[in-house]
């Protein structure tokens, strides 16, 4: 949408991308039966008579799945249809037990809406066409059976929300940023676990290219992109491939393609010619899905603050930059952690730096989520920040204390006073207390000046760099305990 001055043309072509995302809804049971939705069970143990499409079985709508669809609609500013219709999509495939998939066709439950996000520092908006409820199919297993295929119907009937965008994206980077934002939202509002490896969040990208101002080109749909990395690679490859085809004088044929991570290439599965006629018609087994307005309001009342709203609030209340506020609201856990640390420490900017610095690095190193217990809690961090801000410890001392908190997990305590006591005990035990005694500092400084006469001379000759070297030496000599500001002041005095 927002084509800014920055040219996004690739070899003179404009890239046009739209997304279809299948988000598996985090319900306990299936969309039209009461069988559980647990992942990874023995084949065909999570499928009941309805999922197996045994004669005489009928679908009954899972209200929980509808509620999750309403949540998404509310999060994205969509219209929640008062009445939507389930339709049958008819086709034969061994892992499709009924010979049709129950989906929504003409009237979906979620209509319109948009996803906003930053691409670098540029604000982008991708419009949604719709999001509709449908059931997943089972799985065909081709590997383990020589000359035959196995069918696992555990996944059959798992509730999905298919989220469809307008072709609003203009680069692979924008597409990935959109997908990441959508992923953040669905996990944030708790409608999907977001596990891409297990297929809980699967993206199909419709990609086409055109000369600027020309009508939309023919699109090819890249199916089942199950990591952000492959998404970017697949789209980039597809763009290059399409441009080459056109440059070589070949027209693009509408097709469904798959990305092969091993070769880094996309290849066509089927073209438009063999596209099936799905013979959609309203499912006579299911009356229209009626959503009363008071149900929508009930769901709205239970909605969490959304990441964008929270980022705006952080920027406003804690005087953070947009970038920091956005970074801190990447996950709900991160945002909660930051806010608790910011409020308890009374130093939001310091808390932001710590969370984006030490805490993020730790999470990255340990490959754990912020909700995991191995990470020092926000109150511990707040206690540490307090001790930095009141001058008890230096920043580097605080980092040592943080490592101690990581190495030796603490039980959770009552209040900040107790956390402060705990942090104080660490400071004491490790001797991290900042040297605030001017006499002792002066002694160290004198020694350093004597031992580094050359630097002293250079500084006095106007070389500011030499001052930093001296500060470093003092800090080293004090084993990091000296207060850097104080070192600065005293040293300058003495050098004058």
């Amino acid at each position: 949408m927002s084509n800014t001055s920055k040219s996004l043309l690739v070899q003179g072509y404009e890239v046009v991308i739209g997304f279809e995302t299948h988000a598996q809804l985090a319900t306990q049971s299936k969309i039209f039966s009461r069988a559980p939705t647990a992942f990874g069970a023995e084949p065909n143990t999570q499928a009941c008579a309805v999922d197996l499409a045994l004669p005489g079985t009928l679908p009954v709508m899972n209200q929980g799945a509808v509620e999750l669809a309403i949540r998404l609609g509310l999060a994205l500013g969509s219209h929640i249809a008062e009445q939507s219709v389930f339709a049958r999509k008819n086709y034969f495939y061994p892992d499709l037990p009924k010979g049709y998939q129950i989906s929504q066709f003409e009237i979906p439950v979620v209509q319109g809406g948009e996803v906003g996000f930053f691409l670098g520092d540029e604000k982008k908006t991708v419009r949604l066409v719709r999001a509709h409820l449908e059931e997943d199919a089972g799985k065909s297993l081709h590997e383990d059976f020589i000359g035959q295929s196995g069918i696992d119907l555990n996944r059959a009937g798992t509730p999905l929300l298919e989220i469809v965008t307008e072709p609003d994206m203009r680069s692979s980077a924008e597409a990935v940023a959109y997908a990441k934002e959508l992923h953040k939202i669905v996990t944030w509002i708790g409608i999907c676990d977001g596990n891409m490896q297990e297929g809980s969040f699967r993206c199909d990208a419709n990609v086409s290219v055109r000369k600027p101002g020309a009508p939309l080109g023919t699109r090819r749909e890249i199916k089942n992109l199950n990591s952000f990395k492959f998404m970017q690679q697949a789209i980039d490859y597809e763009i290059r491939w399409q441009i080459e085809e056109i440059e070589d004088g070949r027209a693009i044929q509408q097709a469904t393609v798959l990305f092969d991570p091993d070769t880094g290439e996309t290849r066509a599965m089927r073209t438009k010619e063999d596209a099936a006629d799905y013979r959609y018609f309203p499912d006579p087994d299911l009356p229209p899905l009626v959503i009363a307005r008071d149900w929508v309001e009930q769901v709205r009342a239970g909605m969490p603050e959304l990441p964008r709203q929270m980022a705006e609030r952080f920027a406003r209340e804690f005087e953070l930059s947009d970038y920091d506020a956005t970074t801190l609201t990447q996950t709900k856990g991160m945002a909660r952690y930051f806010e608790a640390a910011a409020l308890a420490s009374g130093k939001p900017k310091l808390a932001a730096n710590w969370v984006m610095g030490e805490v993020a690095a730790l999470l990255n190193k340990q490959q754990v989520s912020i909700d995991d217990v191995e990470v020092p809690g926000p109150m511990q961090l707040a206690a540490l920040i307090r001790r930095v801000s009141d001058g008890t410890i230096s920043n580097s001392g605080a980092k040592s204390a943080f490592q101690e908190l990581v190495a030796n997990q603490r039980k959770s305590l009552e209040d900040l006073a107790q956390y402060l006591a705990d942090v104080d005990a660490i400071i004491e035990a490790k001797g991290l207390k900042q040297m605030n005694d001017t006499g002792a500092l002066e002694k160290i400084i004198d020694e350093v000046m004597a031992a580094n006469a050359e630097n002293v001379a250079q500084f006095r000759a106007g070389k500011e760099k030499a001052f930093n070297a001296l500060v470093g030496q003092v800090m080293k000599a004090s084993k990091g305990k000296a207060n850097p500001q104080q070192v600065n002041d005293v040293l300058r005095q003495k050098l004058q």
């Binding site: 008579a49 197996l52 499409a53 045994l54 004669p55 005489g56 079985t57 009928l58 679908p59 009954v60 709508m61 049958r88 008819n90 034969f92 061994p94 037990p97 009924k98 010979g99 049709y100 069918i151 006629d277 013979r279 959609y280 018609f281 499912d283 006579p284 087994d285 299911l286 009356p287």
Partner: protein, 498 residues
């Protein structure tokens, strides 16, 4: 006491309750009788052990002092209802030997009331047909003339009840499949309001039309059966109506306001649609129906001329909607999970084609093709969507008519039962014979067939009564009043009586 097979549902329940006989004795007697008349082709499956276990359980309940209107009464189910104790075939080679792991809701509800299941009854394949000559397991004979069809698709149920093999049976009606065979065999059958009986466990033919109902010798028996069968099942069938269960036996005994002993139907307005009494109906049927209506007048009812102007359109509308739904409903029979799979095939598509071609009969294949066609891209609007629009108009016509009358009456079918094989090669002739029952199904209204006399060849003729939504009680009441004054319903075909 009369012979066990001579007794209706309520009579047999009373005899068992009075310990004149037992449920086990009744079940054994009827199982033997079913074997004796196996050549009728009405019965498809028995499981003596399971039947007798149920009968013993019923006898134990009776010994414990329990009395319900169905306790200990043996009956059988159309082979469209899935059952744990018997295989379920839906009259198709596709499901030969198929064993369901669960009972249909209707089967469960009857069992809960103490009815004993004798077995499964023949029907047209997937309930598609009106002569019961589309069953993979052979045709069913009409006990009134074994060279004639019993009607369909619930032909096995109708023949079994008419031949006194059992006091009652379940049936299903999509476009007349309870009413027409009831009419052809001189028994009483009612198709309730769509959604009144759960469809859970009925092998689906046309989901928006399929409806279960009882078939028995008289309206009082039907009332007792329907009381057990009907009621909400919203946790298993989304089209089940959340409308409290009713006691239809009480409804038929409740005098109308203004009724007298001689004129129990005083004040009842019966609408006669002009379209049901035209040249399309054969004179023998018309004269029996008119005689029955004259009887209704004697009972106090007033006859009102009405019109259902889109009656003729109900044939094309039905034969678009029902096949469309069927083509999709029958997709699950693909040879992958259950049902017939071809012995030899080269690949997946070949497996689908061979399995389905081998196991579906010609009428089923015809309807799958029609249904697939009308749902196809480019035809959907012209056929399916248009048919749905006309369907709504047909329903509106009934509502206009019900402003002027309480019930609607007419023939069930234009003729009496035809000869087996007579219409086998002419699907259009079969479809046209459904003209008086289709519109009721399309509108989702309750309708029934009441024995009203005899026509050509001494074959039974049924009077159709149609009520507004949820007026099953009123329908059964009107039928019961008629049966108090007539004895058409107690006539039995020669060779099958006492």
């Amino acid at each position: 006491m009369n012979a066990i097979h001579e007794l209706g549902v309520l009579e047999l329940a009373a005899a068992i309750g009075a310990k004149q006989t037992s449920s086990v004795e009744a079940a054994q007697h009827l199982l033997a009788r079913a074997q004796q008349f196996a050549s009728l082709g009405a019965c498809l499956a028995f499981n003596e052990e399971a039947t007798l276990a149920q009968a013993r359980a019923a006898d134990a309940r009776i010994a414990a002092g329990e009395r319900t209107p169905l306790l200990g009464v043996p009956l059988a189910h159309k082979d469209i209802f899935v059952t744990k104790d018997f295989p379920t075939t839906a009259g198709s080679k596709m499901l030969a030997g198929y064993q369901s792991p669960f009972d249909a809701t209707v089967v469960q509800r009857l069992a809960a009331q103490g009815a004993v299941s004798l077995g499964k009854l023949n029907c047209d394949e997937f309930a598609m047909g009106s002569g019961n000559d589309n069953s993979a397991f052979g045709p069913v004979q009409n006990p009134w003339d074994v060279t004639r069809v019993p009607g369909g698709s619930s032909g096995g149920s109708a023949a079994a009840v008419a031949a006194r093999l059992m006091p009652a049976a379940t049936g299903t009606d999509t476009g007349g499949s309870i009413r027409q065979p009831a009419s052809f065999t001189g028994i009483t059958g009612i198709k309730p309001t769509y959604g009144r009986c759960s469809r859970y466990g009925m092998v689906a033919f046309a989901s928006s039309l399929d409806q279960a109902g009882p078939m028995a010798r008289n309206a009082a028996d039907c009332a007792a059966l329907l009381t057990a069968m009907a009621g909400p099942d919203i946790d298993r069938d989304s089209t089940s109506l959340d409308h409290p269960a009713e006691d239809y036996s009480a409804a038929i005994g409740r005098p109308r306001e203004g009724a007298t002993a001689a004129r129990p139907l005083n004040g009842l307005r019966i609408g006669l649609p002009a379209e049901f009494f035209g040249a399309g109906c054969s004179p023998d049927v018309l004269s029996a129906v008119r005689a029955a209506l004259a009887e209704y007048e004697k009972l106090g009812a007033t006859l009102v001329d009405i019109s259902l102007p889109r009656t003729e359109l109900s044939i094309p509308v039905y034969y678009i909607i029902a096949p469309a739904e069927a083509s999709s409903n029958l997709s699950r029979f693909d040879g992958v999970k259950f049902g017939h799979r071809a012995a030899k095939y080269v690949d997946l598509i070949d497996m689908y084609k061979k399995s389905r071609s081998e196991a579906f009969g010609p009428e089923v294949q015809r309807r799958i093709m029609i249904g697939t066609y009308v749902l196809s891209h480019g035809y959907y609007d012209a056929y399916y969507l248009k048919a749905q629009q006309i369907r709504r108009l047909i329903a509106q016509d009934f509502q206009s008519a019900f402003e002027r009358c309480d019930l609607i009456a007419g023939p069930v079918a234009p003729t009496v039962a035809w000869k087996i094989g007579e219409k086998s090669d002419d699907p259009m002739a079969n479809y046209l014979a459904d003209i008086y029952t289709l519109s009721t199904s399309l509108a989702g209204l309750p309708g029934m067939s009441v024995p009203a006399g005899f026509g050509a060849g001494g074959m039974p003729v049924g009077l159709q009564l149609v009520g507004n939504y949820f007026k099953e009680g009123e329908l059964l009441h009107a039928a019961h009043a008629f049966q108090q004054a007539t004895d058409w319903h107690s006539r039995s075909p020669s060779g099958f009586g006492s």
